[in-house]
C-alpha cells in the first residue's frame, strides 16, 4: 500500500514538472513576439502612424487667397499659377508688391499632398519680393494660408533647403506625401556672374499643424 502511495506521489510530481516545462516555452515564445512587433513598429509604422495620428485631418479643398508668415513679415495675397508653355511652373508677375502664387496643379493648402506656393525673392526695379527672407525661416515657424472659403490652414516649418537650380529636388517638392504639406519656393543663393538671375532655389517644407476659421 505504502509503495502504491509512493508511486502515486512520484507520478504526481513528474506530471507537475512536465506541465511546468511545457508552459515555460510558451511564455518565452511570447516575448519574442512582442519584441518583434515592437521592432516592426520602430522600423516603419511607428514613424508614419504616430505622425499620422498627430497630424490634423485634411481640410476641404479651397483655393488659397492669402499667405501669412509672421516670423519674416510676410502678409501677401496669393494668386493662381499654372504651367508655362515650356513646362515650367508659372511665376508671379514682375510688378510692385508682387503677390505669391499657388500652383493650381498641386493640392490646395490643407489637402493631403504637397501644396506649392511660389513668390519672388526680389522683383527687379520694384525691389524686394514677398519671399525676400524665406531662407531665414526656422524649423517650427508657422505659416498660415487663408483659403477662399474662410478656412485657415496653419503649417509648421519642417526644414529649409537651399539647393542649386540645376539640382532642383523635383521629387521632394512635388512627390506624393501622406499628409497635408506645404512647399514654399523662391530663388536665392549667389547670382549669375553674367548679371543673370539667382543660381539657387530656396525651398521650405512645412506640414499642417492645425486648421480652423
Amino acid at each position: 500500500m505504502a509503495r502504491l502511495a509512493r508511486v502515486a506521489a512520484t507520478v504526481l510530481a513528474s506530471v507537475a514538472l512536465t506541465s511546468a516545462c511545457g508552459g515555460t516555452p510558451a511564455a518565452p515564445a511570447g516575448p519574442p513576439v512582442a519584441s518583434g512587433v515592437a521592432a516592426t513598429g520602430a522600423d516603419s509604422p511607428s514613424a508614419a502612424p504616430t505622425g499620422a495620428v498627430a497630424a490634423p485631418s485634411p481640410i476641404a479643398r479651397s483655393v488659397p487667397v492669402r499667405l501669412l508668415i509672421p516670423s519674416i513679415g510676410v502678409d501677401t495675397p496669393v494668386i493662381s499659377l499654372g504651367l508655362a508653355p515650356d513646362g515650367t511652373v508659372q511665376v508671379p508677375p514682375i510688378e510692385a508688391n508682387a503677390p505669391a502664387g499657388w500652383y493650381r496643379g498641386s493640392p490646395t493648402p490643407g489637402q493631403t499632398g504637397p501644396s506649392v506656393i511660389l513668390a519672388h525673392v526680389t522683383v527687379g526695379r520694384y525691389g524686394d519680393g514677398a519671399f525676400l527672407h524665406l531662407s531665414r525661416l526656422k524649423v517650427g515657424d508657422l505659416v498660415t494660408a487663408r483659403l477662399r472659403d474662410g478656412a485657415l490652414a496653419v503649417f509648421a516649418v519642417d526644414r529649409v533647403q537651399t539647393v542649386a537650380k540645376a539640382q532642383f529636388p523635383t521629387r521632394a517638392v512635388y512627390g506624393n506625401v501622406n499628409r497635408p504639406e506645404l512647399r514654399l519656393i523662391t530663388c536665392g543663393g549667389p547670382r549669375d556672374s553674367t548679371g543673370g538671375g539667382y543660381l539657387d532655389n530656396v525651398v521650405v517644407y512645412a506640414s499642417l499643424v492645425s486648421s480652423g476659421g
Binding site: 502515486a8 518583434g36 516603419s44 515650367t88 523635383t170 538671375g197
Partner: protein, 121 residues
C-alpha cells in the same frame, strides 16, 4: 483499503494533470502562431522599409490620392529678378558711362557755341 483509495485518487489526479499538461502544450502552439502573427508584422515592416525613404509610400499613394500633384512642372522655378539698383557692378558701370557721355556732349556743345561766338567777333 484507504490507501488504495488514496492511491486511486492520486492516479486520477495525475491523469487529469497530465491531460491538462498536454492541453497547455497544445495551447502553447496556439501561442506560437501568435508568433507567426509577428511574422506578419515583419511583412508589414518590409513594405515600409521598402518605403526606403518613401519610394514605397509614393507608389502606394498615387492610386489613392487624387488630390496630389497631377502634372509635375519641369525644371526649377525662376522666382527672382535681381534688383536693378543695389550694388550691381554692371549697373553702376552703365550709370557712370551715361553720366560721362552726358558731360562730353555738354562740353562739346559749349565748345561749339564758344567758337561760334568768337568767330562772330
Amino acid at each position: 483499503m484507504r490507501t488504495t483509495v488514496v492511491a486511486a485518487l492520486a492516479l486520477t489526479c495525475a491523469a487529469v494533470l497530465g491531460g491538462a499538461g498536454s492541453a497547455f502544450a497544445a495551447s502553447s502552439p496556439t501561442a506560437a502562431p501568435s508568433v507567426s502573427s509577428p511574422a506578419s508584422g515583419p511583412s508589414a515592416s518590409p513594405s515600409v522599409a521598402g518605403g526606403t525613404g518613401g519610394a514605397g509610400a509614393p507608389t502606394a499613394q498615387p492610386s489613392a490620392a487624387p488630390s496630389q500633384v497631377g502634372s509635375v512642372p519641369s525644371g526649377a522655378p525662376d522666382t527672382g529678378v535681381p534688383p536693378v539698383t543695389a550694388g550691381n557692378g554692371t549697373d553702376a558701370t552703365a550709370l557712370g558711362a551715361e553720366i560721362g557721355g552726358a558731360v562730353l556732349v555738354a562740353g562739346a556743345g559749349a565748345f561749339v557755341l564758344r567758337r561760334r561766338a568768337k568767330a562772330r567777333g
